[in-house]
């Protein structure tokens, strides 16, 4: 019985774990390996030259890479600053304040998350069009100056963030709602009896007990935003003047347009390390024993 269970464990695990080993673990190890080599995308496997940390040294001297790294962090940072409060506000609104309209509003807020990012980028590219798009017209209605949106260094990145927030906010809101349903209702009742105001209840009950959920939102948002690719590929190609050039786009270009596999892998490995560092920091916060009940 025990022995046959052991055999079954192996049989049932091997397809899934085998695929992960072959197509996730091995490629990550290979990425690290290739990053220490000079290798053209157009020569066969094995035809590489060991160059030590030359690729990394080149990256540290490359202005384009530094800009791409900075832009990636900037994009992730601005997105987080917008997503966390918005998801929290929408989540509380949909969980508590909207009655029967909540379901309809949740559907509306969530639908963009289902749409391919390419489609979202195409639609927003049109909305942002300075002459033919409606956004500048709307700004005009309320007396604000026209913007160049994707066409100007100052606004291009922000325009991409807005598009991302529009597409993904519904997903993060659903996570917040799920977190809210876990908070026992009696806490609020007790606080009400003690005369706590709505603001006090939010500040002293909801937010501390939602900490875990919010950190989860942050982790997922970081993972999703540092790999942003489609909007940049479709709308800006990294421009204007590198203002929206992000790491994933630079990796793709370096590998598949310039054919520099070693360089691209070094960049990819840096992106990997950035991601691991970010997730570890947030996990650390999650485990903080001072953090309370949840």
């Amino acid at each position: 019985m025990r022995r046959s269970e052991r055999v079954w464990s192996a049989i049932l695990l091997s397809p899934g774990l085998g695929m992960l080993l072959l197509f996730v673990v091995a490629p990550i190890v290979l990425t690290a390996w290739i990053s220490f080599h000079e290798w053209s995308m157009f020569t066969p496997m094995g035809d590489w030259t060991f160059v030590g940390i030359d690729n990394y040294r080149e990256l540290s001297n490359s202005r384009t890479f530094r800009i791409a790294l900075r832009n990636t962090l900037l994009y992730a940072g601005i997105s987080l600053v917008a997503i966390v409060p918005l998801a929290l506000g929408l989540g509380m609104l949909l969980f508590g304040g909207m009655g029967r309209a909540s379901t309809a509003l949740r559907t509306i807020v969530f639908v963009p998350y289902m749409i391919p990012t390419i489609a979202v980028a195409i639609i927003w590219g049109y909305l942002y069009s300075p002459l033919y798009g409606p956004l500048n017209q709307l700004l005009g209605f309320v007396g604000l100056p026209r913007q160049a949106w994707l066409g100007a260094v100052d606004t291009a990145m922000l325009s991409l963030v807005i598009l991302n927030v529009w597409q993904t906010i519904g997903y993060y809101t659903v996570l917040v709602i799920a977190g809210l349903t876990q908070i026992p209702f009696v806490y609020y009742e007790a606080a009400k009896i003690d005369g706590a105001s709505g603001f006090q209840r939010t500040w002293h009950i909801t937010l501390p007990l939602l900490r875990r959920t919010l950190l989860f939102v942050v982790v997922i948002a970081v993972i999703n935003t540092v790999q942003v690719f489609e909007p940049v590929y479709v709308l800006t190609q990294g421009g204007p003047a590198n203002a929206t050039n992000v790491l994933s786009f630079q990796i793709y270009r370096t590998a598949f347009e310039f054919g520099l596999a070693g360089q691209a892998s070094a960049m990819a490995f840096v992106l990997f390390l950035v991601l691991v560092a970010a997730v570890l920091v947030v996990m650390r916060l999650l485990r903080d024993p001072a953090g309370g009940v949840v």
Binding site: S9, L20, V25, I108, Y132
Partner: protein
């Protein structure tokens, strides 16, 4: 707030949230029905004077959209089947089998959930290339036949199934294979459905990997065809065709979501809460 004034406040809040979420989709639909003259007006015209469906017919002339749908169904469907199979099997072991190192192994699997394809794109492409699978369905599907999220989701739901049920089947002499497919899986209906929809939509929408692997236009998925449609027709007077293509491309997803909304939301909620 109750009573009529509460209703008004709620209505205003509703409109305030719904309008920005719906406006881009409204703009897409309205523009797909406009004439080239209306598209070239500045400031833009919001509603077409005489809505016409010409653009929807044009989409199928300028891009191989019908074939693209078939390709997307094949790729997303094939990947989803693989993910279901590998996730159910591995999830069962992590939930119900006991062996030394199980939890460590499970955490290693979970760690792979955080790895975006861009990080391993170069070796992944070269591996698939070495297998001779560039520009094939198999090349798009193969690297994604298993994923940590699916294994995680299945394990979470299977952990909730009582051990006694499985033990008594074992005593009756059922093999692990029979127990998994005859007893465990039928109890997991909603969870399996949630995973199937997640996987299908995710791979239907996927761009970077198909872009890397699929080269000939007749192999392109809907998302890739849409990308090409834009480069064909970037002039503003063709924007109705682009918007019609976009509308067609998102229809399956929106319908699937509206039909399966509860399953979807429940699936996301469970990963957020238990994660």
């Amino acid at each position: 707030m109750r009573g009529p004034s509460g209703m008004v406040v709620r209505g205003v809040v509703f409109a305030f949230v719904a309008a920005p979420m719906l406006f881009p989709l409204f703009w897409m639909l309205a523009s797909s029905l406009k004439t080239p003259q209306e598209l070239q007006a500045s400031p833009p015209v919001w509603l077409p004077a005489a809505p016409n469906l010409d653009a929807f017919a044009r989409v199928f002339e300028v891009a191989p959209f019908a074939r693209a749908f078939l390709n997307s169904f094949t790729v997303a469907g094939g990947t989803t089947l693989g993910i279901l199979l590998t996730s159910i099997m591995a999830g069962y072991v992590f939930a119900k089998h006991r062996f030394v190192g199980r939890d460590v192994l499970f955490h290693v699997v979970l760690a792979t959930m955080f790895l975006p394809p861009i990080v391993m794109l170069v070796p992944l492409f070269r591996i698939v290339e070495a297998l001779g699978l560039v520009d094939t369905y198999a090349g798009v599907i193969l690297p994604f036949l298993a994923n940590a999220f699916g294994i995680f989701l299945m394990r979470q739901f299977m952990a909730g199934i009582p051990d006694e049920l499985i033990e008594s089947a074992r005593i009756d002499g059922a093999s692990e294979w029979t127990i998994l497919w005859r007893i465990v899986v039928p109890l997991l209906g909603p969870a399996v459905a949630a995973l199937a929809i997640f996987a299908f939509v995710f791979h239907w929408n996927s761009f970077l990997w198909p872009l890397t692997i699929l080269q000939s236009p007749e192999m392109h998925t809907v998302v890739l065809a849409l990308n090409r449609l834009v480069s064909y027709t970037s002039a503003i007077r063709f924007q109705n065709v682009v918007m019609a293509g976009t509308a067609i491309a998102i229809v399956p997803n929106v319908i699937l979501f509206l039909l399966m909304q509860r399953t979807f939301i429940a699936g996301i909620s469970s990963t957020g809460v238990k994660g």
